[in-house]
Homo-oligomer: 342 residues x 2
C-alpha cells in the first residue's frame, strides 16, 4: 500500500483506446468510454440480432493472418444479416486473448476489422477484452435493421418454389483441406492460383450483403450456408414443413472446386456438406424468380437455381432435402452437416 | 457417400433444442430455430447494449458449480444495465464448451440461467454454441431499454455531488482468496459461515437492477464496480473531468469483510481494488440525495455515501480519486484496478 502507484489507467483500457476506440465512430458506441452502448433504433424497424463465435483451431487456423481472422469473425455474422434481408448496423466484440498477444496481432486485426466495418456499414458499438489460458476466441454479436415485420425467415418455403444459392459452394471446405495439406494442390491437379483461391475462401468469407434487399423483396425463405449446403437445405425444409430436391449437377462450383472434383469425385461429399460457404440459400416463388435474378445481376451477385421445393412426402417427416445425380438417384451422405457436437 | 446417413439433425441442434429452446420464450427469440432473433424495439426508447465474457480460471474457478457460473455470466451484464438505469430486456449467449461437456454441466447451467432470465426479466434471444480445446468461455451480450436519451452516463458527475455505493465492497475479492486457500478462514478469524458468504459473493454477484429506475431519476453519473472501487471511481472521475475524495472509513463492509480487515489490515487494498463487486457506484447532486436514499430504501438496496466530487485540482489531470484515512492521508495503491493486461 505504501508503494508508489502506477497509472490508474489499466492495460485493458490502453488496449481499447489504442486499437478499438479509433474504429468505434458510430454515435451509439459513445467512444467506448462508458459501460454500455446506447442505440436509438430507427423508427418503424425491427432489429435483427445474431451472434457467432470463432475459435482458433476450430473455425480458423492459429497461423491464419490476423486480418483474415478479423474478417472471418465479422463476416460470418454479416452473412446471417444478409440472409435475413437485414441492413447491417453495428456489432459488439468479445475478444478473448491468449497470453502475450501483442501489437503484431492486434494492429493488423483492428485495421482489417475497421475496413470491414466501414465497407459493410456495420460499426463497432462496444466490446469486452479479456485474457484466456486457451486459444484466441472471438465472439461477435451483430445487429441489423429491417422494416417492421420484414425479416426473412427460414419457414416460408412453399411447394413449387425454386431453390437458389449465391456464389459457389464447397470452396472453403476444400480450402481448409489444402491449408492443412499443401500436397493436395498437386494431388487434385489444381491449376496455378487455384490452391490459394480455395484457402482464401476458407479464411475470409464474402458475405452477400449486396443481395439483402432483393432477398427481402423476393425470397419466401432464406438462410446462410454455414454448416454445409445439404444439411442447411434440410434445416430450411424442416422449418418450412416441406421437402426439396436439388440437382447435384446444378450446384455452382468455382473452377478450382470443379478441377478438384474432376480429379477426385469423392470430394463431392466435402463440397456439399463441408460448410463455411457463407453464401445465401433461399427459396423464391416462380413468379418472382425473374425479378430476383435481375436484382442479383444488378447487385453483382452470382445466383443459381439448384432445385425445387416439394410437398413433404406422405409418411415421412418434413425436412428431406434430396440431392440427385444425373440418373435421378439420391445421394446419401455420411454426415448431414458440420457440427461441433456429434 | 454410400453409407447410410445418420440423422440430419446435428449434435449442436440437439443441444440447443434440449437445454436452451425451453428457456427462450421471448417472441424475439423465434424459438431459436432461425439464424437470428428479431426484436421490435419499444417505441420512444433507446437500447442499452453491453457485453461481458467470463472465462474458466480467469473470472470463475473451473470447479465452481455450473449454476453459479450461469448466474455470474448473466449477472455481470445485468449489473451494467442496472448502473446505466436500463430495464433488462434480453441477451445473446455464446457458449464455448471444452470437450466432453455433458448434461452434468449443461442441465444445472441452463436451469440457473432460466431462473435468472425470468427473475430479472432478461430473456434468452439467441446464441451460438461451439467447441473449444481451451477453457469454458461464456460471452453474453445483454440488452436493456431506457426512455430515449435517458441512459445514465459516466460523465455527468459535478463538483459538490455525493459519491455513493450500493451494498458492500470487497467481499468477492476476499471470497476469491478464500476459494483458493481455505486456510484463510482461520487466519482471518472469520466467524461461522463468513467464509462461505465471501465465496458466494465471488461466485454469484447480486446485481442492483432493483435500483435502476432510481439511478435514472437521481444520479448524475453511474457505473458498476467491476474492476475495484478505487480504479472505477477514478474512471468515473476521468470521464466527468472531476476529482473525488472518498473516506475509507465510510466504505461499506460486510461483517465478514470487516472481521478479515480487523485481523489483517493489509487486506484494505484487496477490498478497495480487488474488483468483482458488481455494486453500483454513482454520484448524486446533494439536492436529490434524500429522495435517492428513500428510493433505495424502498427498493431494499443498501446505499452508503462514501465521499464527494471535487473540482479537478489545478495542474493535475482530472480523474484523481483519493481514498483518505481518518487523518486525511490519501492511500496509495500498488494497482489502481483489476486488468487482464498489465
Amino acid at each position: 500500500m505504501a508503494k508508489r502507484g502506477r497509472s490508474q489507467e489499466s492495460g485493458e483500457d490502453r488496449l481499447i483506446a489504442r486499437y478499438f476506440r479509433p474504429i468505434a465512430q458510430h454515435p451509439a458506441a459513445l467512444s467506448l468510454i462508458d459501460d454500455a452502448a446506447c442505440l436509438t433504433p430507427p423508427k418503424g424497424h425491427d432489429l435483427v440480432l445474431t451472434v457467432d463465435a470463432v475459435v482458433a483451431g476450430v473455425h480458423f487456423l492459429p497461423d491464419d493472418p490476423p486480418a483474415s481472422i478479423a474478417r472471418k469473425a465479422l463476416r460470418v455474422n454479416l452473412s446471417d444479416l444478409a440472409a435475413k434481408g437485414a441492413k447491417p448496423l453495428g456489432f459488439l466484440l468479445t475478444l478473448t486473448l491468449p497470453p502475450n498477444t501483442d501489437a503484431t496481432f492486434l494492429k493488423p486485426f483492428a485495421k482489417a476489422l475497421a475496413e470491414d466495418a466501414k465497407a459493410y456499414g456495420c460499426r463497432l458499438l462496444g466490446g469486452d477484452t479479456t485474457g484466456t489460458p486457451g486459444p484466441l476466441t472471438i465472439s461477435i454479436a451483430a445487429f441489423g435493421t429491417v422494416p417492421h415485420g420484414r425479416m426473412v425467415r427460414r419457414h416460408g418455403a412453399r411447394p413449387g418454389d425454386l431453390v437458389m444459392v449465391t456464389g459457389t459452394i464447397g470452396d472453403a471446405a476444400l480450402g481448409l483441406k489444402v491449408s492443412q495439406r499443401a500436397g493436395l494442390i498437386k494431388q487434385w491437379r489444381l491449376k496455378r492460383g487455384q490452391g490459394a483461391f480455395l484457402v482464401e475462401r476458407y479464411r475470409a468469407p464474402r458475405p452477400r450483403n449486396a443481395l439483402a434487399l432483393a432477398v427481402r423483396r423476393y425470397a419466401s425463405a432464406a438462410m446462410d450456408v454455414s454448416d454445409g449446403l445439404a444439411g442447411d437445405l434440410a434445416k430450411l425444409c424442416r422449418a418450412s414443413g416441406v421437402s426439396a430436391t436439388a440437382e447435384v449437377a446444378q450446384v455452382p462450383l468455382s473452377p478450382a472446386a470443379a478441377t478438384a472434383l474432376a480429379t477426385k469425385p469423392d470430394l463431392l461429399e466435402t463440397i456439399l456438406t463441408g460448410g463455411d460457404d457463407y453464401e445465401i440459400l433461399c427459396t423464391v416463388p416462380r413468379a418472382r424468380a425473374t425479378r430476383f435474378a435481375a436484382a442479383a445481376k444488378a447487385a453483382g451477385v452470382p445466383l443459381t437455381i439448384i432445385g425445387r421445393i416439394e410437398r413433404a412426402r406422405a409418411g415421412t417427416a418434413p425436412g428431406e432435402a434430396r440431392f440427385v445425380d444425373a440418373s435421378e438417384q439420391a445421394l446419401r451422405f455420411g454426415r448431414g452437416s458440420f457440427s461441433h457436437f456429434n
